[in-house]
Each structure stands twice: as structure tokens, then as C-alpha cells.
Symmetry: C2
Subunit: 213 residues, 2 copies
Amino acid sequence: MSLLRLNITMSLDGYVAGPNQSLENPLGVGGMRLHEWALPLAAWRKPHGLEGGEVNASTPVVEGHLSNIGAVLMGRNMFGPHRGPWSDHPWDGWWGENPPFHTPVFVLTHYPRPPLAMRGGTTFHFVTEGIASALDQATSAAAGKDILLAGGAAVAQQYLAARAVGEVNLAVVPLFLRGGERLFDNLGATDLGLEQVRVIEAPGVTHLTYRLL
Amino acid sequence: MSLLRLNITMSLDGYVAGPNQSLENPLGVGGMRLHEWALPLAAWRKPHGLEGGEVNASTPVVEGHLSNIGAVLMGRNMFGPHRGPWSDHPWDGWWGENPPFHTPVFVLTHYPRPPLAMRGGTTFHFVTEGIASALDQATSAAAGKDILLAGGAAVAQQYLAARAVGEVNLAVVPLFLRGGERLFDNLGATDLGLEQVRVIEAPGVTHLTYRLL
């Protein structure tokens, strides 16, 4: 059975992106500061095709997040900065020719588009039939491995409210963004039980893992 | 120099009290669940005049929170459920005849009231001149010891926005309250730097300590 695992970095005041997302500021104003803990890590650089990097207490956490993942789910606003219908020369993602996913990636959007095959095993599939269909397709593609729910906030909230998420891996960074996309809003009318599984302190970040009950 | 230390328990989605605070639900609907990690502890029970209790990884954290405190600051909504002017038979706090503070407590309110001396060294002083005056009075009373900023959210936000808080001790519990009083809102226009100091995993709670830069 595939587990849907939300892996995301959050500011201490609860934001996973800053305000005013754009081509210049993919994660909103100040949002790139969320990921400063990860960028120097060898464990982060390797799937991005980069050599070298640091090893610290975050290393096994990042390696664990990437292991046993057979498919990825994300929202269209995480895939790119544009809104509305795709243009004639559509955006191919933030990640260059060889994206770091190396699995099928299912992008939730309101606008149909043919699949987009990249180098390194990543193919973006654009799903217009909603979160349940995207999860079904990701589950088939994952073939027994787990599914990474990569964000952003809106998609994470929809899967949380639908009680489809099995595990939440939060990287909490010592930062107040004071605005932007808040992760834990719109969680629906139903109480969601959480169990604290694991806590790891690392330079500039705390890794919290919860199981959804 | 007295350090202003914010000690507070927060749900994973950022709330320090649930919605609809009242006499029946002092911490709002569901808000008492925030403190289930603390109530069984001997370290919590002792200052409340209760014997027995458990010892676990939260014990040294709670003992540390209570040590070297010479005065307490809190908002009027934390002191009691009533709003508006004090009545002829005013509320004397949630904590009975012998409150757990055992120091002067400065309660921020818009309505003047004479000081209220309780047993065990706690005297409630009602401050109508705003947060700077309350901090000045607490600093004098603390006589070199630190000052506990006990909450609630509105008062914590005002002292954070004023850059007066030196340390934040957050107890994060595996709970979605999905509404109520959010701690880290209204933090003002100025960027607030944070440094991650310490992380402690304990049963049903994670203790995060940050220094304000």
C-alpha cells in the first residue's frame, strides 16, 4: 500500500511560500530563505545533478524523504509561476532539463496539457480531474512505492482535508515570513488526529515527523 | 538585564487557544487539549500546589521555564473570560487562592483595578498604560531576574512586534485546532531574526527554543 507523504519546509509562523509569487520570486518574496538549510547539502545537490556539498544532521532526513518514492504529486502553482491556460510555448518547470524527481510527477491543474517527458526519468502528467484522480494515477505509477506530496499549500490542504495523507514531514525553519501561503489552513470540518513520530534537530532547521491517524 | 521569555504551547497549525473562549472553555473549544502533555507532570503539579505526578523528557524543560522568573506579564483575556469593565464582584483569575506564579503578575487591560494580592506570593497588578509601561513595571519587580511572557496571542504579538522578546519557548503539540487564536500573526512590518537554540522531543510534545536577534 502506497503511503502519501507530505514533505515540506515551513517558517515558524506557518508559511511554505512568501507573498507575491512570480517568475522572479518562485517562492514569493523571501520564500527562498525557507530552503537555505537544504541547498548546501550533498544529499540535496545529488538528485539535482550537482556534485559536492555538506553532510550534517539533515543528511539522513533528506535521504529518507527521497527514498522509496515512486511518484510525485504537486499543484500547478508549484510547477510554475503562470496562471490560467497554458501558452503556446508552455513552461517546462523550474528544474531544467533533468528535474530532481526521477519518477512520474502528477501536476494538478484546471487546464489540460499533454504529458511532458524530461531527462532522468521525470515525466510531468497534467491532471484536470481533481485530487482523487491524481492520487489514483500516482498510486498506479508508484507500483507499491510511496507517493511524495510536494506542495504547495493549497494542494497539501486538499489532501489533508480528504484524510488521504499518511505522513507529514515538516522542516521548520527559524524564520518569520509574516505573509504568503500558510500550510495548515482550510483543513476542513473533520478533526484530524496526529501522532508525533520523530524529531531531529539540525543546523538551521528542525525536522518533525507526524503520522496521520 | 532581565530577559523577556515567551513560554507558550501551540498546536501544529499555530493556535494557542481554540475558538469561542468562555467561562466553560477558558482556552476556547478544544483548547485544553493543548496542555495535556503538561498536566500529568510533577514539575507542573508542584507550583500548582499538587503532589505526585510523572517525570519525563518534558520535566527539565518545564523546570527551566519556571526558573529565574521574577515577574509575569499576561493579557487580560488570559486572566479571565470577561470583557469590558470589571464588575462589582470581579474575577480573581483562573488559578484559585494560591496561583502558580508566586511573583508579581502584570495584567494588561483597558480597565483600571486595584492590585489583587493572593496567597503564595502572587499579586496581580492591572496595567492600563500599555505594553511598554507593563514591561517597565515588570522589569522593576523582577529585580534582575527574567520576565515570563505568559500570553495570550495578542499580548505576545505586541511584544514580538515591539522587538522586546528575547527568547521564545514553544511547546508544539500534535494537534490541529483549525481555528482560534493564532500565535504568530500581526508581527509588524519589521523583520524579526530568529536563531534556533534547542530542540527537545518529549511524549506528546516538542519543545523548541529560539533566541530573537
